[in-house]
């Protein structure tokens, strides 16, 4: 019956939406936690901008290292060493 099928589909859609919304709320909460840390950084007299810069630099560095490590694995694999 069409209506029941529609309802079932509706239920599934609703469930997906609620799961996404739940996760986005968590994300927002974490963003707020991060803001609080920066407020603390400022409160103790450090420069927020600089700390942020360091964080982003470390992220880039980490990504670079991961890429290099993947590249290394690809080479090793290519010469049959892994």
């Amino acid at each position: 019956m069409i209506n029941q099928e529609t309802n079932i589909a509706g239920e599934r859609i609703k469930s997906f939406i609620e799961r996404v919304e739940r996760l986005e709320q968590e994300k927002t909460a974490i963003s707020e936690d991060i803001k609080e840390i920066y407020a603390e950084v400022k409160a103790v007299g450090f420069e927020v901008k600089i700390i942020k810069k360091i964080v982003s630099l470390r992220k880039i560095e980490k990504e670079r290292r991961e890429e290099e490590s993947q590249l290394l694995e690809m080479y090793l694999s290519a010469i049959g060493e892994k």
Copy 2:
């Protein structure tokens, strides 16, 4: 002694940075969870674009309600009722 002070400052900065990085990892993990949900949405044959639009629409509605509630508070405050 200057070096010790520097070290103490360095320790505190390091601690802030690590706390931020920990939280950003959590955020990334949640973003991946959300992506997985949308992959599932697609897998069961629903249109991801539409579900995303519904999510954003509900977010806007929520924001509107919050703004309205702020407006009410402003009114009350303006007429000295709060």
Copy 3:
């Protein structure tokens, strides 16, 4: 001849830049006009904060309507009606 080409490119770039700068000046001028209106609002004894909140509320409502209309189009498109 290379120098002429360079000049031509340079002329075009200069023209783009000047067009952008002209428009940004206009934007700044409008922002100042808006500020003047709020100064007037304050001068006649209304609460600027509340007027601003109403403006932003109306903007959100407009966005909501636009999103709804996009959602409708997506639905129609999804069921092959458009």
Copy 4:
């Protein structure tokens, strides 16, 4: 009569809001014009990022010059030359 006063106030508020909204529309329109220029920049093969950088550098330069000129005026005024 209170209701009439309220209406008059309401009319004025409405008028302020509409004036602001009108100006904000103009601002949005100008922002779109700027975007179109950058689309054109890209279409003819120039790098948007670089053009934007030039625009922002020129803006900073202009502001610096204005500040210097103000500073000069302050000095002149301080020594009674203006």
